[in-house]
Symmetry: C2
Subunit: 323 residues, 2 copies
């Protein structure tokens, strides 16, 4: 039967957000808590509490299931968490733990894939048959939506577009690789550029945006200063845009997409950066492929909940043979 709701869970390093989502993408009830720092079981307990809170009063037959997005390397086929940098969840069978206590069907995937799925169902890529999603936040991730569905690769671990090499013998990436896009574009890289600038008078507006405290210069301080019109901060974002643009060149030449969606906390707010990236891509991609819309994601903080819910609806419908 056709269920009306799914629960979407967005597990972040800082907070866990859970929503009860209608098929059309309206979040009818949501709840969030800080992510506990006392180990994996505390995290799972918090997830369960929040799920119970938002789904109280919903009849079993109305609920498609629970989708959980996790910022880590997920083997989608095995539904296992292989690596997880910011949370102690690697090797923890979150799916089974939540399933056994909630008595609902549970599916997990990584946050980049779910951001793509959410934008495809409810956001900037609605109706698109093919697009590439890039999320720029603390990490750089993404997902591939090809021929009308998520493309996850042989073990469901594909879509890591933040981990393409853009510089031979380049900077170390948090993942251990060398010269990956993430090493040039995530929050830590932007914050470092901000601190470098703020070390002298040139970066005074960035320092001001951080409340005058060098130790509080973050990527967001750079964004704020840029939005206030500071040329130095804009320069940092424009330089990042060139790097992002070079990555887009490769993605456009590989995928020949009509649409690229840039999301994540930085990607959604750094208009300068995204515009510059689109310009570089249009100048340097192989001719015949440059007619690509580069759109910013629109789901904001709800992307994780909505993507996880969309996955849960899909999995439910596949089980019921509705696909």
């Amino acid at each position: 039967m056709r269920t009306n709701y799914a629960v979407g869970v967005d597990v972040g390093g800082t907070r866990i957000a859970v929503g009860l989502v209608e098929r059309k993408g309206r979040i009818v009830k949501d709840a969030k808590k800080l992510t506990p720092k006392t180990g994996p079981f505390a995290v799972v307990d918090t997830i369960i509490d929040l799920i119970e809170e938002v789904s109280a009063g919903v009849h079993d037959s109305e609920l498609a299931g629970i989708g959980i997005g996790i910022p880590g390397q997920i083997d989608f086929l095995r539904q296992s968490i292989e690596f997880c940098t910011n949370l102690p969840l690697a090797g923890v069978d979150v799916r089974s733990l939540v399933m056994s206590r909630s008595k609902r069907e549970v599916t997990i995937d990584n946050d980049g894939n779910l951001a793509a799925l959410g934008e495809s169902r409810y956001g900037a890529a609605k109706g698109a048959r093919d697009f590439v999603m890039l999320t720029v936040g603390t990490g750089v991730g993404g997902g591939l939506f090809l021929n009308g569905e998520m493309y996850r690769g042989s073990r469901g671990m594909g879509g890591e577009v933040g981990h393409i090499v853009v510089e031979l013998d380049g900077r170390m990436c948090p993942c251990g690789g060398k010269g990956h896009l993430e090493a040039y574009l995530g929050r830590p890289a932007l914050a470092e550029k901000g601190r470098e600038a703020a070390a002298n008078f040139r970066g005074r507006e960035i320092l001001a945006a951080a409340g005058g405290d060098m130790d509080h210069i973050t990527a967001e301080a750079v964004l704020i200063a840029a939005q206030r019109g500071d040329e130095v901060a804009r320069g940092i974002l424009l330089d990042a845009g060139v790097v992002l643009g070079r990555a887009l060149v490769g993605l456009v030449n590989i995928f020949n997409p009509k649409l690229i969606v840039i999301g994540g906390g930085i990607g959604e707010s750094a208009d300068f950066m995204v515009e510059r990236a689109a310009e570089v891509m249009r100048g340097e991609a192989l001719a015949g492929r440059r007619d690509v819309t580069v759109a910013q994601a629109v789901l904001g903080n709800d992307a994780g909940i909505l993507g996880a819910a969309a996955m849960s609806f899909d999995e439910h419908d596949a089980r019921e043979g509705m696909h």
Copy 2:
């Protein structure tokens, strides 16, 4: 009805090769001629002559059609040649010209895609549901075989894995882009490294492999010297292998494939380079994705003919509703 044969046409900058191919991939008759340098119509005339030569005596009802592989940028949906560096075919409607004169169904695609299709049907990727093909020759190209079929993107121009950026502000690529893989890995790049080495005593074996003539140092001279055990030539190929490996890191992180096939004149023969590339990829790709077979293509000079024939069978079967 089920046809027995297709004609595969491999249009190269130097020669045009045509084969009559059985469904199982046996080339039962082939013919080749040097590529005329006197303009597009001479090229088309040569294609027609060769097709007539190999298909003489084959009854219409036995022939699925004609597939043509062209080393250029092909809009697969429109069946048009958008760009073609080494041949005067851009904007020439090769498909219609050959169709109107041969009275057979004709399909064109770029050589990288057809190399992938050929290996998937008859070669190193037989039975694989998903793989990435990279061809290393004069240019660097490739194709994507995903979910059991070619993935060509919105206008059929995808799969250009030779044109991903591996170096920010890197070397100019023949395509006009900057820092693309092709700028570091194609025949011209290897030949340049060979000439640099041969400019002094260090590169004497490479010079010897070119018959002692600096002007004849090609990528092949480097390959020959390496096969003879020359450390300098091996070093050039190993360095190229590191670059190729870094590109593979990105492709593995994006696609999470089980198989990567390296083809093209250089890719099929430069074992050192491919082995080194596989090593680098296994060391630097995101964990959980490193279990990838890196295989060399096996179809050699027949890849173009076989891939073009495979496409022609596919198109025929799709028309007849046999898919």
